[in-house]
């Protein structure tokens, strides 16, 4: 690879009012973003060559980066390379200020959800070879950008905490009691998918309702509540208490079953289905209807 290719070239981000600092870039333009341009190549043909990535850059503190822009990097392509591998390479070899969260590299810590070619995806779980080049990598839409690909997750965490995400049961055996609570394999199976959430925030970022209503609990928090509400180990009273939280004004009834959350969830959690099921439960229990 020539040194020329190695140097990141900067390029102004498209003039989009959403891009000014606080909001992430693609908020309004999800459909169009990442669309293939005339010169694009299939990255899988690039073995032994380089892959072209365009990475969103922004830093409120650094003069040249206060105006959001895209930097181009040409990274040597290797079979099996993921989006995370590519940005790590770009950072370690070309520009050490390139900033993103990542840790486990195996789709379990949930820290590297990015907006890749117009879709929320986990960087570590997305093969470069499956994408059209140039690969456009942006922070999650609808979240405040802290720097480069890092978004502020506080609102997401707050919503997760709102649903009282912890096991509650008056009848739980004493701690030094060696007897477990019984749970049927079927009931465990029922909550299995919902228990896989890694708090990556992809679903929340893809949800139009959440984008328009800051108080909407959002798919991840509702799914978290589902896990507890459907667990037979908790009592009926607690289940009812949980449903009350969920059917409040900004709860399950806001969901318009657009399935965008289900589509992007890297853990394949049937989020929309879970939300629908909770709506039915709320109706069954005769809870107040908003």
């Amino acid at each position: 690879m020539s040194t020329q290719q190695a140097e990141p070239e900067s390029q102004e981000a498209p003039k989009d009012p959403e891009m000014q600092g606080a909001e992430s870039p693609a908020a309004e333009t999800q459909e169009g973003d990442g669309a293939v341009d005339q010169t694009s190549t299939d990255a899988s043909e690039l073995d032994g060559e380089t892959v072209h990535i365009k990475v969103f850059r922004y830093d409120p503190e650094v003069e040249g980066k206060q105006e959001p822009r895209f930097d181009d990097f040409h990274v040597p392509f290797e079979k099996g390379m993921t989006v995370l591998d590519a940005v790590m390479y770009a950072r370690d070899e070309y520009d050490s200020s390139l900033t993103f969260r990542h840790s486990c590299r195996q789709a379990v810590c949930g820290s590297d959800a990015f907006f890749v070619n117009g879709k929320q995806r986990l960087g570590c779980k997305t093969q470069i070879a499956d994408l059209e080049a140039p690969v456009r990598i942006e922070p999650l839409p609808h979240q405040e950008v802290v720097k480069d690909l890092v978004v502020d997750m506080d609102h997401f965490y707050d919503q997760m905490h709102t649903v009282e995400p912890y096991f509650q049961d008056e009848d739980t055996p004493a701690v030094d009691d060696l007897e477990e609570q019984r749970q049927s394999p079927e009931n465990r199976e029922k909550i299995k998918m919902s228990s896989r959430c890694i708090w990556c925030g992809a679903c929340m970022s893809s949800c139009n309702i959440a984008a328009g209503d800051n108080e909407y609990l959002g798919p991840a928090a509702i799914n978290k509540a589902y896990k507890f509400a459907m667990d037979d180990r908790e009592s009926e009273e607690i289940k009812e208490h949980r449903l009350r939280i969920l059917e409040q004004e900004h709860g399950v009834w806001r969901c318009q079953t657009q399935f965008s959350c289900t589509e992007v969830c890297p853990k394949d959690i049937p989020l929309t289905e879970h939300i629908q099921e909770l709506k039915r439960e709320a109706v069954k229990k005769n809870l107040k209807f908003w």
């Binding site: 099996g80 950072r91 370690d92 486990c104 810590c109 912890y166 060696l178 749970q183």
Partner: protein, 612 residues
């Protein structure tokens, strides 16, 4: 400055359990973690938690298996504490709602794991760690425990008496990753380090990028010795391209290893005639590399792990996550083809020396989880024994730090009259010749003898100066270059198979890294979310930790557990039933030894030949 009774550094399994325990003991506790708790590496654990829960099993059997697995380098009081408390702690997780896999009658399932004489591994699919981490974080949320997430802890505030046994820890210095603000955290009662493993010292590892041995290095520089660092576990089944782990659960459920000739080599070549694939990890890792070395590896690099015969239903029920990992990270469909696997760095048996109550020789300083060495795993950890360690010893450390009386420990810590001094092993480089510069250097000395606040303020000041120095310097070497060189050397020379010459070579490279680090600089000028700065500090920690691993490996001239030495392929019980301790002494590592404790409550564990 922030102030709490107990400060827990790190929010993985051990840290969360310590925080809940300290809270229950009545302390005002805060957690400080460089990652949000649910991002901690405990979430990656797959296989399960060992606990003698069923009739027909009991804690003594668990203790026996663990001592045998440790190759008789575990301390019996620690091993027995683990085995006795694991059932209660595991059930406690169930009571907190952890979604364990279940039997038809609704009881939690248990499965066989390597080196266990009874199927005592409790699990939640192949995602045990994920569920454990989330279940415990939920309890922290429930109790309203304060979490400072994305705060990176840089150093400990410790008094500077000459003898570490007289020192006291008063808190930590951390910086807010989002804003770059550097602050002191005063701990009135104690600091618990729960910072996880040092896997990033190697370049092929199952560990997360965040596993940089920060706690190890901070405790080491504060005067607490690092124990048995040479014992690094290489897991036999990691994916060749990324190091992502394929759980031992696959072999537990009946997965089979084949070489390139389709031979079931564990039996075919007599590596483990009884247990085959379920021999302990060191045995299997060596067998795989021997196959590769003797030309029977696939693509000269790995072997095959086959689970197809288990059938789709069983795989989906118990190992579904493995299918996803093999597909996403290696492009292999485990239902229709065997998975490529090779050994990868996985776990550090050694760590910060602590007693059964989690305390180090520095008063007020505790450690728990993978960063600590209590020591339960000795020369080799059994699969499924780390998670119970987190909850059993995390809880003890938290309670003790909060002031609960746990009784006198049997395990001693620090330099004392029961230790044996340095051997005459010749070192290839003069340790400590580089790295005394406190601003840019590898070794920062302690604080000053003063009141708690004075010590803390002074440490904060030093940290600020150091960061300013790194940020203002505008040329030099970048951490990534040093880190890559270090990782390469460790993987080349301090891997599964080790030779004295190789280790000496590694020590030379580590020393070069130390020297180059004197000239390190941070390119990113921003204080906002500066990962360049964070990784630069982490790299310094990796250098310190890698050096202790290599030094330990060099002096232990025998073969025990995961530590294989070509020159001496026998376990030397006469000379080596002892722990290696390395402490940072005036800018120089010094080595001493403490005998292993083989006397348990009711019996003495007699070293026997390990055969599987």
């Amino acid at each position: 400055m922030y102030e709490h009774d107990v400060i827990v550094v790190g929010a993985g399994g051990a840290g969360l359990r310590a925080a809940v325990a300290a809270h229950e003991a009545g302390a005002d506790v805060a957690m400080v973690s460089k990652l949000h708790p649910v991002r901690s590496h405990t979430g990656a654990a797959e296989g399960g938690i060992n606990a003698a829960l069923q009739e027909g099993d009991d804690w003594e059997l668990h203790a026996y298996d663990t001592m045998k697995g440790s190759d008789y380098l575990g301390d019996a009081p620690a091993v027995e504490t683990l085995a006795k408390n694991a059932p209660e702690e595991t059930m406690n997780l169930e009571h907190w709602g952890m979604p364990f896999s279940r039997e038809e009658d609704g009881r939690v399932s248990q499965r066989p794991f390597g080196g266990l004489s009874y199927p005592r591994t409790t699990y939640a699919g192949a995602e045990t760690g994920h569920h454990l981490l989330h279940t415990m974080y939920e309890q922290v949320v429930k109790r309203g425990i304060q979490v400072y997430d994305e705060w990176y802890v840089m150093d400990l505030a410790v008094t500077d008496e000459p003898d570490p046994n007289d020192r006291e820890c008063h808190g930590v210095v951390a910086y807010d990753v989002q804003s770059g603000k550097i602050e002191g955290f005063k701990a009135n009662d104690g600091v618990v380090l729960a910072t996880g493993g040092p896997g990033q010292a190697f370049d092929h590892t199952t560990n997360a990028v965040s596993c940089t041995g920060d706690g190890h290095a901070m405790a080491y520089r504060a005067g607490a010795p690092l124990e048995d660092m040479e014992f690094i576990q290489f897991h036999p089944t990691s994916l060749p391209s990324t190091g992502v782990l394929i759980s031992e659960g696959v072999r537990g459920e009946g997965g089979i290893l084949y070489n390139n000739e389709g031979e079931r080599f564990m039996f075919e070549y007599g590596y483990a005639n009884n247990s085959g694939e379920l021999a302990s990890r060191d045995v299997v890792a060596r067998a795989e590399l021997t196959e590769v070395d003797e030309g029977r590896g696939v693509n000269d690099e790995y072997v095959h792990l086959d689970m197809r015969h288990l059938g789709e239903e069983r795989i989906m029920d118990r190992l579904e996550n493995i299918l996803h990992l093999a597909e996403d990270f290696e492009g292999v469909d485990g239902l229709v083809e065997p998975m490529p696997v090779k050994p990868g760095q996985h776990y550090a048996m050694g760590g910060i020396e602590v007693d059964e109550n989690g305390q180090t020789c520095v008063s007020g300083l505790y450690a728990a989880g993978e960063c600590a060495c209590v020591s339960v795993h000795g020369g080799n950890r059994l699969g499924g024994n780390a998670l119970p360690e987190l909850i059993v010893f995390g809880k003890r450390a938290g309670r003790h730090a909060a002031g609960d009386d746990l009784g006198e420990p049997e395990i001693r810590t620090g330099y004392g009259d029961d230790v044996e001094d340095e051997t005459d092993t010749e070192l290839p480089v003069q340790p400590g010749e580089a790295g005394l510069d406190t601003t840019g250097g590898v070794a920062a000395d302690g604080g000053v003898t003063a009141d708690a606040e004075g010590v803390l303020e002074r440490t904060v000041e030093t940290a600020r100066e150091r960061v300013d120095y790194l940020m203002e310097k505008d040329e030099g070497v970048q951490h990534a270059e040093i880190r890559a060189k270090l990782q390469r050397a460790m993987t080349d020379y301090v891997n599964v198979f080790r030779t004295g010459d190789g280790i000496r070579e590694a020590l030379k490279v580590i020393r070069e890294c130390r020297q180059e680090y004197q000239n390190v600089y941070v390119d990113d000028p921003s204080r906002t979310f500066n990962t360049d700065l964070q990784q630069t500090i982490e790299t310094r920690n990796l250098i310190d930790v890698a050096e202790t691993i290599a030094l330990g490996a060099l002096v232990r001239n025998e073969f025990r557990g995961a530590h294989w030495r070509q020159e001496n392929q026998i376990r030397d019980d006469e000379n080596w039933l002892k722990h290696t301790l390395i402490s940072w002494d005036d800018g120089e590592p010094s080595i001493f030894y403490r005998p292993v404790i083989l006397e348990g409550e009711n019996k003495t564990y007699e070293p026997k030949e390990r055969s599987y």
